[in-house]
Amino acid sequence: MHDPLATTLLTLILLLPFAGFLGVRMSSRQVAGPLAIVLTGIGLLLSGVVLVGTTGPAVPILAEWLNMSGVSIPIGFRYDGPTAIILVLAHFVALLVQIYSLSYLDADADKPRYFGYLQLFVGAKAGILLASNLIVMYAFWELVGLASYLLIGFWYEKPQAARAAQKAFLYNRVGDVGFLIGILLTYRIFGTVEFAQLTAEAPTVVGLLLFMGCMGKSAQFPLIGWLPDAMEGPTPVSALLHAATMVAAGIFLLARIHPLLSPDALVVIALIGTVTTLWGGYSALFQTDIKKVLAFSTVSQLGLMVAAMGTDNLNGGLFHLLTHAFFKAGLFLGAGAVIHALHTQDMRQMGGLRRSMPVTFWAYTICAAALAGVPFLSGFLSKESILAGAFAWASGQHSPLAYGIPVALLLSSGLTALYMARQVRLVFLGESHAPTQAHPHEPDRLLLGPVVLLAVLSAWVWFALNPLSAHGSWPDTLFSAGQLGQPVNPAAAAHIVPVWLAPLSIALVLLGGWLGFRLRDPAPDQLVVRASVQYGFLDEFLNWLVVKPVVRLAHGLYRADTRVVDGAVNGGGIGVVVLAHIASAVDRFGVDGVVNGGAWLANRLGGLTRSVGGGRVQSYITAAVVGLLLLIWWLV
């Protein structure tokens, strides 16, 4: 793809949304939505054209962003398999979400702001995908954080929304501090930040610092808490940013920096991914807010992807990113339809919606089944690939403890089936618990269309012909194209799947699903429920460990600043003034006294000589000499 045409198209894909951000922001209420949709549609078309029209990976350099004293940071594109697929994916989901938003936010007066922010997000996300080096990626990475901040806080008059926006940005910043230190260290070690040249292993700590970027953006343990809170944003935003695309940026980052990661760093990454997937799965279990269940399930699935990356299974992780984007966006948009119909997010006030909203019900259930990993749906394919990779990885490790990771991932997929079945039961099955005046009904086409389409796209057939294995499928081939570095999990790449894996995981999914449909929640005040709802008290713990001490330190330092540092200055000032007064007193009574005494003496002497000699000149001279002598005597 060294042809200038493709480069031009990619430039357009990158710049169009930024221009759109300004244009849409300034347009009127009626125009904003359609304009944004057209722009994203063009972006989708262009990314499709580039995807089909290109043959292999390429790294065209556009311009020097900066060149100074031997430091050069070019702005260039790195276009390879993962970029190609995720670029199309991001535009596609963004397009659907914006179409959906036309109806969902119909009543909102501030549509230019909303669609403008979405354009900003699309542009920033494209920047992350296309960046050819770490620093430019970091720049767009932060811009994505800004878009997320603005969109979560879109309803800024809700204090929870404003708080959630701030929390999201700060959690991401914490991760980004590590990311930035990692980038600076990478630059120090390799003298470059271009992905194309970062092909050797870096020290473990550098890899882990870079991984911190992923921990923030992809809500990995312990930086989980911002993602459930981000649900305060409009539901379509949750679908696009906080489920399908933005949070997946961390996975993409891991694919980009994979050659830098040492085996030890990978083990840590796999562990954090595993902890996250279990943590998120357990937290989703007893939530009562329909969106929070989905949020924690996103956390859990992101953990699964991270674990895949940690077990050297890049294709598996990226594949799950792809399939997950469709069914999770479908679930969020479906949940939005339910919220739209009932004006509540509390699942305890739902139930029985399968009768009043049958299309939504079926679409939602298909997406939920895909998420749970039911065969013949896309989620099964990608999960199977991750699990197979993890078992293959564990067999290559020296310690049998390594099997803990694939076993935990297997358990987590059972957990997924459990909480999704519970959600479908609470929302759609059984009797209605809605207030009597509520008359839920099927949403309009703008809302329903995207949901149905996403459900359809959750079938296996779009991704691989074989419903039980993704081996040799088109995403598999594309993801491998132009991947950086060699050390991928050979077993995972060859798709060596133990024969017992598929039956076992299907059995677990069925068991989880059955339990989810059958079991009733324990009382809400029980510890197992509270621990789940408050995601293991992680927020309380971090508040206690970090937030409160920092705030206390800040106030303590400020007190110290005014009392001690400034106090010393003022004290010094007062001291000088006191000293000055003492000096002045000494001056008046001591020094001046001596001088006056001297003058008096001189006067007397002068008078004496005058009276004696009667001559004027002599007496003055004498007085002057005596005075001078006295002065010298006093000085010496």
């Binding site: 020097e64 962003w65 900066l66 060149n67 100074m68 004293s69 031997g70 430091v71 620093i135 970091y138 720049a139 767009f140 932060e142 811009l143 800004l146 901040y149 806080g153 800024y156 008059e157 809700k158 204090p159 929304a161 404003a162 708080r163 926006a165 701030q166 940005f169 700060l170 910043r173 914490v174 980004d176 501090v177 930035l180 230190i181 600076l184 260290l185 630059y187 120090r188 920092v550 705030v551 330190l553 800040a554 106030h555 330092l557 400020y558 600043d561 005014t562 540092v565 400034d566 200055v569 000032g573």
Partner: protein, 553 residues
């Protein structure tokens, strides 16, 4: 000529305003505006005349000013010498921009307009003088003269505790001046002007003949003690002060560093003295406590000028004088100095987090951001030094914007407490948008200038052979703190349902004049952030030359 114009035009303007009859009072601010616009134009001409590829001083103008015969130790020559290089040019342009912004934001000053605008122009001229003077004596003169208008501008037009703040500002800076003065005298006694000395010894008979060989010859003679001390011409010329060859071997501050008061080489003491002198100005923790008070009491335009320009003289002094004349000090104490930078970043950030006064929050954020300047300078790498200069320019633009923003609510209600306002986004959407831009720009969002300054100072310190990596890591925490205090302020003041201690009618959205100030500054921060080479193209040749002295020592 251009540079002299930059200095004297405002001084003449100040004089004119002081002498005009009272009937022309409404014209005073117009004169000030005209002068600052002209300053911006002239600085544009300077920019056009500047050759970025040339690392040396340019647009030089030199006139003999004072020559004192000192008998047996020769004579001392003080010149009126001005010129710029890549280090000072960005700061000159920044000053022109910020001074213009300051005048426009002074538009509503009603009390004692004559004195105000007269002092303001005096300040403008002296600030310009500081950045273009290349003779230490001349520099010091401007440096001292800057205090006077600043003292009165805070002391007469300030808030309730203005006397306290202005005296504190004055004494603090005076203390720094005394230290700088001592070192200045020491330096001039220790350094000769090779050209004039060659003339005095009869080696050459015209200054034009002084080429590199002659200078080397004179320096060799000096080193070998072949020059009669009575024929030595001492100098304050920056160009000679930064060349180790011009130092008298037996002098107090000689490069051999044999004089040891308190067991420390005199040069190191001198380095610390000038460092402290300029660190007060920057300011660096723990010499910063004048800054919050001065900012809180100063009227908005004076805060803008103080943060936008005056602090930068500290950073400029580091580069030109402290590190420039004592590279051995900068190299010897790189760790301690960078450590002070890191301390400022973290300490300033944490203090900003604790504030309930918008202006104080911004003042402490300045302390934090100036810490990056010290860190970058102390790193002694091209990235660090260029980044430090860039950070000064960037902070000049963004802090001007921030203080204007603080001024907006203060003008309306005389209340700067953050908890007096909630949900302003609803009633003052333009104000909220521009505040968001300024805050995100300041917290280092890519696309705005703050990001580039922080990235390059951090990169520089990470690359530095003098500094351990964890210094940089600790400094990077500063960007998380910045996100903390800026976003928290944003959330408390602008989001949530609308509420205020004051009538909603007292809080109208931005006036056209406020927009005229804030929007261009925001755009400037954006342009600099997107095209950082606008600055780096100017600086990097001079910085490369500047860094060479550290390779030798």
């Amino acid at each position: 000529m251009l540079l002299s114009l930059l200095i004297f035009l405002p001084l003449v303007g100040a004089l004119v305003i002081a002498l005009l009859p009272d009937t022309l009072r409404p014209q005073f601010r117009l004169i000030a505006l005209g002068v600052t616009v002209a300053e911006l134009f002239i600085s544009g001409l300077v920019y056009a005349a500047f050759d970025p590829a040339n690392p040396g001083y340019q647009l030089l103008q030199q006139t003999d000013w004072i020559t004192l015969a000192l008998g047996s130790i020769g004579s001392v020559s003080i010149d009126y010498l001005v010129g710029i290089d890549g280090i000072s040019l960005p700061l000159v342009i920044l000053s022109a921009v910020v001074m213009l912004v300051g005048v426009v934001s002074s538009w509503n000053i009603v009390e004692r307009q004559r004195a105000y605008f007269s002092l303001y122009l005096l300040l403008t001229g002296t600030v310009m003088g500081c950045f273009v003077a290349l003779d230490f004596f001349l520099f010091f003169l401007f440096f001292e003269f800057m205090l006077l208008p600043m003292y009165f501008l805070i002391g007469l037009w300030g808030g309730p505790r203005r006397e306290y703040a202005s005296i504190k500002f004055f004494l603090y800076t005076l203390l720094g001046s005394v230290l700088i003065l001592l070192v200045m005298i020491g330096l001039s006694m220790s350094v000769m002007d090779p050209v004039s000395t060659a003339l005095a010894t009869g080696l050459i008979n015209s200054p034009e003949l002084a080429d590199t060989n002659i200078i080397r010859l004179v320096q060799a003679q000096l080193a070998n003690g072949q020059i009669d001390p009575g024929q030595l011409v001492h100098t304050f010329d920056f160009r000679y002060l930064s060349d180790g060859g011009n130092y008298l071997p037996s002098a107090f501050l000689s490069v051999s560093g044999e004089t040891l008061p308190l067991g420390i080489p005199a040069r190191m003491l001198a380095f610390w003295a000038v460092f402290i002198g300029f660190a007060i100005k920057l300011p660096i923790v723990p010499l910063h406590t004048w800054l919050p008070d001065a900012h809180v009491e100063a009227p908005t335009p004076v805060s803008v000028v103080l943060a936008g320009v005056l602090l930068k003289i500290g950073g400029y002094g580091f580069l030109r004088i402290a590190w420039g004349f004592f590279p051995d000090g900068g190299a010897e104490y790189a760790r301690v100095l960078a450590g002070l930078g890191v301390l400022s970043i973290i300490y300033g950030g944490l203090n900003a987090l604790a504030q309930n006064d918008v202006k104080k929050m911004i003042a402490y954020s300045s302390v934090s951001h100036m810490g990056f300047v010290l860190l970058g300078v102390a790193a002694l790498t091209p990235e660090g030094i260029n980044g430090a200069i860039y950070q000064m320019v960037s902070h000049g633009v963004l802090s001007a914007m921030l203080f204007l923003i603080a001024g907006v609510v203060y003008d309306r209600t005389h209340d700067r407490r953050i908890d007096s306002y909630r949900g302003l986004n609803k009633t003052m959407p333009q104000y909220a948008t521009l505040t968001t831009i300024a805050f995100f720009g300041s917290l280092g969002l890519p696309g705005f200038s703050g990001f580039v300054g922080e990235l390059f100072t951090l990169m520089g310190s990470m690359q530095s052979a003098w500094l351990p990596g964890w210094f940089t890591a600790a400094a990077t925490l500063g960007i998380a703190l910045a996100a903390g205090y800026f976003l928290w302020t944003l959330q408390r003041m602008f989001f949530g349902p609308y509420w205020s201690r004051h009538e909603a009618s007292a809080l109208p959205d931005l006036t056209p004049r406020e927009r005229l100030l804030l929007i261009p500054l925001g755009l400037l921060a954006l342009v600099l952030g997107l095209f950082p080479n606008l600055i780096f193209d100017l600086t990097h040749a001079s910085v490369g030359e500047w860094l060479k002295r550290f390779l030798v020592s």
